[in-house]
Structure formats: structure tokens, C-alpha cells
């Protein structure tokens, strides 16, 4: 580990790999430091499935066109105006050039997965998913001569004025300081550090599940913030969705998602409903349910359906809890039986009497309850056909938004302006563009666009 490198990249996910590949292609000697062991390399990126991409006409697996303005409007709708418009537009425009670059560096795309047709125009799906993408990039990087160290956690960034002079790396119990001429930070968010989440969210964050890697603990982010780096984003903001309550604490990934909410009623652990389950189609609502469940006692919810609705959504990874009566279901779920029975009965009584024919699972069908609070404004069909099924729901954190402020060259800023030789990419700076909310496939876009820029900029600094 003594050889001095031109460029050190901190992190081992999509953003880090894009930076390392660009740097190596521009002639740098590159060292990539990944804190995870090899099997878990690739951070959250290995859980992803697609990449949102602007395109003026059909491009690779993408159909039709998706213009800058439409993409930008989609973004504005979810972030509620909280974005850096200039950076956002730049990122969107660059995405179009990224797709062919990704293909040229080993990534393969496939037509959108079954059950996700609505994304076939806007999102390019990775053949085999994010881990296949990560594998392809590691192959490419290694072929370009990038040195990769696994189990190598960066614990501290050495600053001298506006320059980074080295990084402390802990590997196999030993810590060493490594020097280089340029540095890229791509070590993700801090959602793996539950204590930090609790400081931001309060103690209820103990009950959150983390959908992705446990290795994104924000060690580098914390260290940079402590040393006066400029931050963007709100520490209490994160992307959180409602997932299967039985999911593992970390790394449950995509399979723990549950799409049953719109066809169900959701109750808290007292057996009471708390929000309109049918407000909109699920792809537009799943992200708010993370917060809704987080606000309930014990941060848990229960989605109740009957046998008519069981096949209306994608299969779940764990089978639902099943019972012949609502009371029995309540017992199995650990809910107060009488209350749940009463909640279901009053919901059923508020449903339109003869819904047959007007129930349409794939669109807003307007089948709404009457006189119920909170109402269910679509898909309000009585829960009457046994057996009954229940799923527990918990908030699942995808990633946090607090990050390092960067400009359009991915350069990191300190109290006195930009650092001379430090760039950042991916989740660690995503807050610059995502003030709140989330647009499916945009995380990979940010990482790819800024990762590439960071690698290129670092390489021209070194040259």
C-alpha cells in the first residue's frame, strides 16, 4: 500500500466505479477503497434495477422519447421545488450520454421487468440488476489497472488548507495513511449508522429497517462536516418506503417491498386506520407510506386484505399471515381483535354497495368510501371474502439526503470555497439535487453523471 497513486476513490458503488474508470482512462493510477468485503461490494448500487435516462428518440432498450423538460418536470413534482435547478438540468442532460458510456463499459440493459411496464420509456433496466452492473464495472476497472482494496474503511480525510493530503484507511485491524494527488468521495449516505438516524429522527428510528448496505455509515461525510465542509440537505430527510415488517434489519433490498396497500386497509397496532390507502396508484404513493408508518406507535402498520385481492399485486417475499376470520387474523398479527373487527366492519359499511364492475386495480377507479374518516378514495371494496390475509409494514430507509455541497464539476466546498483536489459523487452529494422526495432511477443517474465528472476533473487536475 506504499505506492503513491494519482487518484484515490473512496467507496465501491456505482459513483465510485464511474469515477475510477474515468480517472484510469484518462491515464491516472487509481486506488479504490471499499469498506465492504468483496461479497458485499457495491453498496446500495448492487440493489438497484434501473437508471432514469433522458433521450430524444428510442435509445437502447428505451422506447419513445423522454425530453429534458419532461424529466425536469417529473423531478420538480417530487422534490417540491427543493433542488438546485442548474445542477438538476445538467444532470438530466448528461444522462443521455451516460447510457452508451455504460454499455461501452460492460453494463447490459434489458427491457423493463415484468410488472414495471410503466417505466419502459423512462428507465433503462440492468440485465441481472445492480449487482451485475457493479460486477461489470469492477471487471472494467481492473482491466484498466485500477487497484481495488476491499475491507478498507476510510476513517479520516487529512486536510491542509484547501487541499486534501491523504486519507486514513483501516484495513484488517490496522490503520494507514495513504497519499494521492486527487481524491473522490463516493461513500454513500449515513443510513447505516442508526445512532445518527436517531439523532436526526428521534428514538423511533431504532425501529427503521435499512433497505440497503450496512456499510454506508457516513463516516467520511461526518469527518468532512466536522472539518467544515459545506453541507446541503436536511438531516431529517431520507427516502423511506413502507416495506415488509419481517425484512432483515439491513440489505433486504427490493424483495421486501409490498404492493398490497392500495387494495387493503392499513391499521396501526391499536387496530385503527390512519390514512387514505387509495389516494393514488402505488408507484406514486409508496414513498410517503414510509413516513406514515414511522409516525405510528412502534413504527409499525398492518395491511389487511381478503382473498379477492391476494393476486392483484406482485408476489411478496414472505407469505402473508392467513386466517379464516378477522378476529383470528388479529390474534395472529398480535392486534386487538375486537377493534380490528370493528374497523373492518365500519370500513365495509362505508364501501359502495355494489362495486362489481367498477373496481379497476390498475387505474384510479374512484370507488370511494362514504362518511369514513380517514376515507379510502379508490379501490374501496369490502373485505369480506375469507381467508383473510395480513402483512406487517415498517419504514425502510433507502438513503439519507444530508450531503456534501458540490458544483457542476462535482467539486466539494469548504468554508472558504472549493477544495483544490477533492470531488464527490453519488449519495454523498445527492442532497444537492434531491432536497426531498425521490424519482425512481434518479439515484443511479446522479451517481453515474457526477461519478464520471468527478473522475474526469480529478484526472485533469493530476495531468
Amino acid at each position: 500500500m506504499s505506492e503513491p497513486y494519482d487518484l484515490i476513490v473512496v467507496g465501491g458503488g456505482n459513483a465510485a466505479l464511474c469515477a475510477a474508470i474515468e480517472g484510469a482512462e484518462k491515464g491516472c493510477s487509481v486506488l479504490l477503497l471499499e469498506s465492504a468485503p468483496k461479497v458485499y461490494r457495491g453498496g446500495n448500487s448492487r440493489h438497484t434495477r434501473n437508471f432514469r435516462c433522458m433521450h430524444q428518440g428510442p435509445l437502447s432498450v428505451l422506447t419513445g422519447s423522454y425530453t429534458e423538460d419532461e424529466y425536469f418536470d417529473d423531478l420538480m413534482r417530487v422534490v417540491n421545488g427543493k433542488t438546485d435547478r442548474h445542477l438538476a438540468r445538467m444532470c438530466i442532460r448528461e444522462s443521455e450520454k451516460c447510457l452508451p458510456w455504460m454499455e461501452a463499459h460492460g453494463v447490459r440493459f434489458q427491457p423493463s421487468l415484468s410488472g414495471t411496464l410503466s417505466l419502459s420509456r423512462t428507465n433503462a433496466f440492468f440485465l441481472g440488476g445492480g449487482k451485475a452492473l457493479v460486477n461489470a464495472y469492477y471487471r472494467t476497472a481492473e482491466n484498466l489497472g485500477v487497484t481495488v482494496l476491499y475491507d478498507a474503511e476510510v476513517t479520516h480525510i487529512h486536510l491542509d488548507g484547501n487541499r486534501v493530503t491523504g486519507v486514513d484507511v483501516r484495513s484488517k485491524g490496522e490503520t494507514a495513511t495513504l497519499q494521492a494527488r486527487a481524491f473522490v468521495l463516493a461513500s454513500g449516505g449515513f443510513q447505516g449508522d442508526i445512532d445518527w438516524l436517531c439523532r436526526a429522527w428521534g428514538p423511533s428510528a431504532r425501529n427503521f429497517l435499512i433497505r440497503g448496505t450496512p456499510y454506508n455509515r457516513g463516516v467520511v461525510l461526518r469527518d468532512m462536516l466536522d472539518q467544515g465542509a459545506e453541507s446541503v440537505g436536511d438531516p431529517t430527510q431520507c427516502h423511506a418506503v413502507a416495506i415488509d415488517g419481517r425484512a432483515p434489519k439491513f440489505d433486504g433490498g427490493i424483495v421486501t417491498r409490498l404492493d398490497c396497500v392500495p387494495f387493503s386497509i392499513v391499521v396501526n397496532n391499536q387496530g385503527a386506520r390512519f390514512y387514505d390507502e387509495g389516494e393514488d396508484v402505488w408507484p406514486k404513493r409508496y414513498a410517503i407510506w414510509g413516513r406514515l408508518v414511522a409516525a405510528q406507535p412502534e413504527q409499525v402498520g398492518y395491511s389487511i386484505i381478503d382473498s379477492q385481492s391476494l393476486e392483484l399485486f406482485m408476489p411478496s417475499v414472505f407469505p402473508p399471515i392467513k386466517a379464516d376470520t378477522i378476529k383470528d387474523l388479529a390474534r395472529r398479527l398480535g392486534l386487538p381483535g375486537e377493534t380490528l373487527k370493528a374497523t373492518v366492519d365500519s370500513f365495509n359499511a362505508a364501501c359502495p354497495t355494489d362495486p362489481d364492475g367498477s373496481f379497476h386495480p390498475t387505474e384510479l377507479d374512484g370507488l370511494a368510501t362514504e362518511g369514513l374518516d380517514p376515507p379510502k378514495t379508490n379501490w374501496a371494496r369490502p373485505i369480506t371474502q375469507p381467508p383473510f390475509y395480513g402483512y406487517s409494514l415498517r419504514p425502510g430507509v433507502t438513503f439519507t439526503y444530508l450531503g456534501l455541497k458540490v458544483d457542476e464539476t462535482a467539486r466539494v466546498y469548504g468554508a472558504d470555497g472549493p477544495f483544490a483536489n477533492l470531488w464527490a459523487a453519488g449519495e454523498i452529494m445527492a442532497g444537492s439535487i434531491l432536497g426531498q422526495g425521490y424519482l425512481a432511477g434518479f439515484g443511479m443517474t446522479i451517481g453515474t453523471v457526477f461519478g464520471r465528472i468527478a473522475g474526469q476533473e480529478a484526472a485533469s487536475h493530476v495531468a
Partner: protein, 359 residues
């Protein structure tokens, strides 16, 4: 939920996870077939297992492999289920257990086959005859090989019937056969979905080495088979007897067939030695290896026999070649050779499932 055997139950556990994930949809036919269902019975798993070509793409792409608690290893789970299904369908079952699990038994069969041929050559030495038939009369060969051909064929037929019943197969149409044939001929399911191939000999690197080696073996074997068949037709129908000249059907099929079979088997052995055994069915690794060696030996000894025509080596080479063929044929229903038949059956069934008219 528990299925008929622990191996099927474990495969179903993994399949349920895949069905909630779907990332591997584009790699092969297994995933699209899987995603049509919500729950899986034993027959469904058996069908998926026999459709899987063990290209391993879905292992290296999986974010849930061990030490993750979901412990996904779909190539291995399906390999175990496939292996178990062949042993379950085989007739008689005891024979399958012996040959699948034990390379020694398969090698033993080879030795017995060769010994038998030597004995036949000595005991039934013909008074006259040309070429091979100077060593072993045509009648003697037929007496040995006709049953050695028909018996395994009957056993395979019984096995396939059992398979068809378990997976719920329906009436086969020409379209299904053509579809399955196309898939088998190009080994589409070893192409990784986009022609980039398998993840076999070098972890997650895609390569077509295995697909090409396997194709060489398959086509080599079929050409050798065509060579023997055309020889039989020439013998009986046209009264033309071996040895045949270079420009004759048996030789035109046989020589390239032997070359392909030998080269392909060598390639497969080389690849198999490099691949991770934990992504297949480790218990049968040895027997599979001996089987590939046997295939290679069959091709190679056939070529050698041709190369040494007219020399003193012919009797020994003939015994080795015919012994290998005999062992190969007789063990077919109980060795890795059976997979070809079940694979084609699975592809036909898959064509039926895709074809919405047939339930």
C-alpha cells in the same frame, strides 16, 4: 410450505424470493416461466430445474448470496432438484442412484464394457471378414449392441413419461417441437440472454466457452450417431459393408463428429476444473467428470480406430471404442447423458406453457 422432498422445498424457497425480485428475468427461460406463477408445487420446480442450464448468471448477479440470510444459490438449488428428479424418474431407480452418484461405477461400467468386447473378440472370432468384422463379426456386434441400444431407450422412455406426468405436460404439437429444437440447437439458455454467454470458468466474467464446448459435444455426438446409423443403413439396405472410404456417409459424419466430440469434451473438462463446484450439485461432480471423459474417449477412440486402419492396433482399439460406446449407451438412462432427454422435454413443456392456447 413444504414440497415433496427437502431439495424441492429448498428450491421453492429460493424461487419465491426470485419471484419477488425478478432482476434476472433476461438471462434465460427459467425466470419468465417462473414469473407466470405465484405458488410452486413439486412439478413446477421440477420443470424449472430441468429448464435451467446452470449458466450461473443468476448466481453472480444475485445480491442475496451467502452470507446474506436469504442464502440464494439458484443454480445449485436447481441443479440438486434436477439431479434428484432424474433419479426419481429413472427405471429402475437403483441403477440411477449408483451411476449418478459414483464416477467409479461409471468407470467400472466402461472397464466391463471393454472387457466384454475383448472377450467377445476372442470367443467369437470370425473365420473371415473385412476390417472390424475380421475382429468381431457383424452378427456378434449386432447381438451385443442392439439390446444395448434398445434397453436404455426403453428406460429413458419410461423416465420421460414419468417426467411428463409430474410437470403436467399436454399433447405435443409440431410447433412445440420446433421451438424446443431451435432452443436446444443454439443452446439459447447458455447465451446469457444477449449472447454474452455464461459465468462459468472465471466467476462473473461472461464467456461463450462453455456454450461452444457443449455445442461441440452435442453436435459431435449426433454426427457420430448419424455415422453409425448411416453405416447400419448401408449395411442392411444397400448391402455395402465396412470399412467405408473417406467419401462415404459414415466417414463424412464420423470424422468431424469424432473431432468435435473429442475437442468439446476436452473443453468441458478444462472448464469444469475451473468452475466453482458449489454452484452445481457437488455430490455428482465426480460422476459427471467421468461421464465427460467417457464421451471424449468414445470420440477419440473412434478417430484412432480410423487412423490406425489396417494395423495391429485395430483389435485393441476396436475393443476400447466399442467398450466405451457400450458403457455410454447402457448407462444413458442413469448417467449425466439422461440430461439431454429431460432438457429437451423441459424445453417442449416450456414451449407449451408459453403458447397460451395449451394450458
Amino acid at each position: 410450505m413444504s414440497l415433496d422432498t427437502p431439495i424441492l422445498t429448498e428450491a421453492a424457497r429460493q424461487v419465491d424470493i426470485c419471484n419477488a425480485c425478478r432482476y434476472c428475468e433476461g438471462y434465460c427461460s427459467v425466470f419468465p416461466a417462473m414469473f407466470k406463477e405465484r405458488t410452486f408445487a413439486s412439478g413446477d420446480i421440477t420443470q424449472l430445474a430441468n429448464l435451467c442450464h446452470n449458466c450461473r448468471g443468476c448466481y453472480y448477479a444475485c445480491q442475496y448470496v451467502e452470507p446474506h440470510e436469504f442464502a440464494l444459490n439458484l443454480p445449485a438449488a436447481l441443479a440438486e432438484a434436477r439431479q434428484e428428479s432424474w433419479e426419481r424418474f429413472a427405471w429402475p431407480r437403483a441403477a440411477a442412484r449408483v451411476f449418478h452418484r459414483s464416477g467409479v461405477a461409471l468407470a467400472g461400467a466402461l472397464v466391463v464394457g471393454i472387457a466384454l468386447l475383448f472377450w467377445a473378440a476372442a470367443a467369437l472370432q470370425p473365420a473371415s471378414g473385412k476390417g472390424f468384422y475380421a475382429v468381431l463379426s457383424h452378427t456378434a456386434m449386432v447381438a451385443i449392441f442392439l439390446p444395448a441400444f434398445l434397453l436404455p431407450l426403453t428406460a429413458i422412455g419410461i423416465g420421460l413419461t414419468r417426467y411428463w406426468a409430474e410437470v403436467g405436460g399436454t399433447r405435443v404439437t409440431l410447433a412445440h417441437l420446433l421451438e424446443a429444437g431451435r432452443s436446444a440447437a443454439s443452446m439459447r439458455n447458455l447465451a446469457g440472454g444477449q449472447g454474452q454467454g455464461c459465468n462459468f470458468e472465471d466467476e462473473d466474467r461472461f464467456s461463450n466457452a462453455r456454450r461452444h464446448a457443449h455445442q461441440a459435444v452435442m453436435w459431435g455426438f449426433l454426427l457420430c450417431f448419424a455415422s453409425t446409423s448411416s453405416g447400419t443403413v448401408l449395411h442392411y439396405v444397400f448391402d455395402m459393408h465396412a470399412p467405408y472410404p473417406l467419401f462415404s456417409l459414415p466417414k463424412l459424419f464420423g470424422v468431424p463428429g469424432g473431432v468435435l466430440l473429442t475437442a468439446g469434451a476436452t473443453g468441458l473438462i478444462w472448464l469444469k476444473l475451473r468452475a466453482d463446484r458449489g454452484l452445481g450439485a457437488p455430490a455428482v461432480w465426480g460422476a459427471e467428470m467421468i461421464f465427460v471423459l467417457l464421451l471424449g474417449l468414445t470420440g477419440f477412440s473412434g478417430l484412432a480406430l480410423y487412423a490406425f486402419t489396417g494395423t495391429d492396433a485395430v483389435p485393441a482399439l476396436l475393443a476400447i471404442h466399442l467398450g466405451a460406446v457400450l458403457a455410454l449407451f447402457l448407462s444413458t438412462p442413469y448417467s449425466k447423458m439422461a440430461h439431454g432427454f429431460y432438457r429437451v422435454a423441459a424445453l417442449i413443456r416450456d414451449a407449451q406453457i408459453k403458447d397460451r392456447q395449451t394450458p
